[in-house]
């Protein structure tokens, strides 16, 4: 009897533990359908969070991409009862441009399109935001090698699809390119439940709906971020200046900016002799290969244990459930990425840099990593 009671007690504890810790946190949308959808675009009275012009929208949404993911201010907003990341605000966000802050905790990981509306150099000019003098993305010459069209049409540059970043690149319409993703069970992209075989398989199970890209998504889009609370990016420790993994975050960037990623001769990050001196800043390259140099001091400013830096993030070549995400060990977990230096949407800095490049004053400090940050989080002795 006593033994049976113990078994029951333990069973209750186990069940309770599983109920609290066993359920994966998913980012797929939740809430009443009318938070985001209207069946006939004719509701009376019209909900105040629905867009009253420009519709009806495809997928029966109440707004387009920017409409749902924009606000007057803030990094998230509420649509009905659903919390939505904000990537475009009509008022300027606070963004500390020094290499010691670089917008961390002030904008989401991707930044804010606000600045793209102020200057061509400060963000991606997706449809309706600012203007650009570019006729094609910088570094686009090898686009077909990355599955993009041979000729770019800047007038079609948008959030998703063939002329965008999110969703299916072989589908031009942004709604169709992203269709179904918001409702997909994406627990395979969460730290506790990461599943490498599922990650990247479909749009809804790809990192931030970037088809094919693997990664671990921070639950609040890095609204709050620290060494132990951040996105986890997939990188690759390449040994040649060629396209290899198609699942890294840098590969996604390379789909449009491929000349900066790989290629022969003057294309890519190197000439025919792989390694320093580089032709272009390396990406998908592990600093563990050069740990004996200054890069072996990589770490978040103000730390001494090689803590992961959310100011200058790096990537892992392997992701797994419940993996350690800080500190780095310089063993295929210190991979420099495009997003080590850039944000995807927009920043107040030219070239969409995370920090103000003009503050990176080489030789002005004896401890540049901790006193200046930015570039010097990796280039620790310059």
């Amino acid at each position: 009897m006593k033994r049976a009671a113990v078994v029951v007690f333990v069973g209750i504890i186990v069940v309770a533990f599983l109920m609290v810790f066993g359920s994966p946190a998913m980012a797929k949308v939740t809430g009443v359908c009318s938070n985001c959808h209207t069946m006939h675009y004719s509701q009376t009275p019209w909900p105040e969070w629905w867009n009253s012009s420009g519709g009806p929208y495809r997928a029966l949404t109440v707004n387009d991409c920017l409409g749902c993911h924009s606000a007057n201010t803030g990094v998230t907003k509420t649509l009905g009862t659903s919390t939505v990341p904000v990537v475009f605000t009509t008022t300027e966000p606070t963004y500390t441009v020094t290499g010691l802050v670089a917008g961390v905790g002030e904008v989401l990981a991707g930044g804010n399109f606000y600045w793209a509306d102020t200057s061509d150099a400060k963000g991606h000019n997706v449809s309706g935001i600012g203007t650009t003098s570019f006729t094609e993305p910088p570094g686009y010459s090898q686009a077909t090698s990355y599955g993009r069209p041979a000729t770019w049409d800047m007038s079609k540059f948008t959030c998703a699809g063939t002329y965008g970043c999110h969703g299916k690149p072989d589908v031009e319409d942004p709604f169709a390119a992203i269709s179904g993703a918001h409702h997909t069970d994406d627990s395979c992209l969460k730290l506790a439940t990461y599943d490498d075989t599922e990650a990247g398989s479909i749009v809804g199970k790809s990192y931030r709906f970037l088809l094919g890209i693997k990664g671990i998504e921070d639950s609040d889009w890095e609204k709050t971020a620290s060494s132990s609370d951040h996105n986890v990016y997939l990188g690759e420790d390449r040994t040649s200046d060629t396209i290899s993994s198609t699942h890294t975050i840098s590969y996604l960037c390379a789909e449009c900016h491929g000349d900066f990623h790989s290629g022969t001769g003057n294309l890519g990050m190197d000439d025919d002799n792989f390694g320093s001196p580089w032709l272009r800043h390396p990406t998908d390259y592990d600093m563990g290969n050069v740990q004996s140099k200054e890069y072996g001091n990589y770490g978040a400013p103000g730390t001494s244990d090689h803590s992961y830096s959310v100011i200058a993030p790096v990537g892992w070549d392997k992701l797994s459930a419940s993996m350690s995400i800080t500190p780095v060990t310089f063993s295929d977990d210190t991979i420099v990425l495009c997003v080590s230096c850039h944000r995807a949407h927009g920043t107040p800095n030219d070239d969409i840099l995370r920090w103000d490049y003009s503050l990176m004053d080489a030789g002005s400090s004896t401890d540049p990593r901790n006193e200046i940050g930015g570039c010097f989080i990796c280039h620790t002795t310059k």
């Binding site: 359908c33 006939h40 004719s42 009376t44 169709a176 179904g180 409702h183």
Partner: protein
């Protein structure tokens, strides 16, 4: 003598031979009619307001319209018997909202003095207009055809001349129920009262008397009518796999409206007033909820009705063909979502005349695959 006797027996037998009544109504004429509105003594089952006050169609009951008197009840929200003839109830006037109703729903929720909510039913009662709408939502521009036409409102008699079924002018002053049920033929020869049957012609009165007018004057809705108007199937219980129910015809089209565009379907009938919702439902992708569109046999929709694909009267679908044997299953890849898959035409407990509580349809909220999730089977996961 023997021969005459045989003839006499045959004659008597023919007189008393039971005649099969193939009509919506059956029973004594006096169940529903009074010839002169002066009967003495006045039958209890007739409305007292009719005595000395004759009503259209010689009806012996009186309500706010010719229909309401018979098709309302304070004791039953589904049907009752009137001299042996079963009468469907579409307006329940009891003390509290009904928990069981017919396929079309119940006007209780929109009726002033009862539910009193204009978002929950068609406003068919005289002078009880809609507080929010000045025309049918999704009107294709027909709201201005004549003054107070039914496309503009259902609560006031129309003024002017409108061609009706059979290209015969509609009676003057129609409104309310007769704004939709244009071809009322209680005595049409279709199927016996209380029994189910397939209806597909004007002579039979069309499905539930839903006929066209103007360009649709010789057209109407075809369908299989449940003999008891699906009484017992709309009581909050689980009736998936029901063996007898209405069966609706559908025609797969991404655009168009009216019988000419969509055939003899209920969706075609709905588009007579709400045409924008179908004619402008697709633009390089769905921009409004599909209607008369095939439920795909892929993605989450392939699981409609569960593993056994059970038909659910709560979320009915349209069939490409209708016969006298209603399906107990729903078939993704051939069956269609339609207007009635989500709405009830008379009234419901829910805004927008929905069949279920939309505020309880929670994406990612778990729960049964019912309501929206009957088709969108994975969005509640």
């Amino acid at each position: 003598m023997k021969r005459e006797f045989i003839f006499f027996v045959i004659f008597i037998g023919l007189i008393f031979l039971p005649s099969f009544v193939l009509a919506h109504v059956s029973g004594l004429c006096s169940n529903c009619h009074t010839m002169h509105a002066s009967q003495t003594p006045w039958p209890d089952e007739w409305s007292s307001g009719v005595e000395g006050n004759p009503q259209p169609y010689l009806l012996a009951t009186k309500g706010s319209s010719p229909c309401v008197g018979c098709h309302s009840s304070s004791t039953s929200s589904t049907y009752y018997e009137r001299g042996g003839c079963k009468v469907p109830v579409v307006l329940y006037t009891g003390d509290s909202e009904p928990t069981s109703y017919l396929a079309g729903g119940n006007f209780y929720w929109v009726k002033e003095g009862l539910g009193n909510d204009d978002t929950k039913g068609h406003n068919v009662f005289y002078n009880e207009g809609d507080d929010y709408l000045s025309a049918a939502p999704g009107d294709m521009g027909f709201a201005s055809c004549v003054s107070n036409c039914c496309h503009a409102n259902l609560h006031l008699p129309y003024e002017g001349t409108v061609m009706g079924p059979g290209n015969i002018p509609l009676p003057k002053g129609l409104y309310g129920c007769q704004g939709c049920h244009l071809n009322v033929k209680h005595h049409a020869k279709d199927h016996p009262n209380g029994e189910s049957g397939y209806v597909n012609s004007a002579e039979q009165g069309w499905y539930r008397f839903l006929a066209g007018h103007m360009s649709g004057a010789v057209h109407g809705v075809e369908g299989y009518e449940h003999g008891l108007w699906e009484a017992g199937l709309h009581d909050g219980g689980n009736h998936q796999g029901a063996t007898d129910h209405n069966e609706y015809l559908g025609v797969q089209k991404t655009g168009g409206y009216g019988f000419g565009g969509l055939g003899h379907t209920t969706t075609a009938f709905c588009t007579g007033c709400h045409g924008v919702f179908h004619d402008y439902q697709y633009d390089n992708g769905w921009i409004r909820h599909p209607s008369d569109a095939v439920i795909p046999n892929e993605r989450e929709y392939q699981y409609v009705g569960g593993d056994s694909h059970l038909y659910d009267p709560l979320s009915p679908v349209a069939k490409p063909t209708v016969d006298t044997t209603p399906d107990t299953t729903v078939n993704p890849g051939t069956d269609m979502v339609m207007c009635l898959s989500c709405h009830r035409p008379h009234g419901s407990p829910y805004p927008d005349l929905l069949r279920w509580d939309y505020t309880e349809q929670i994406a990612g909220g778990g729960g049964d695959d019912k309501g929206c999730f009957y088709c969108h089977t994975q969005k509640n996961d």
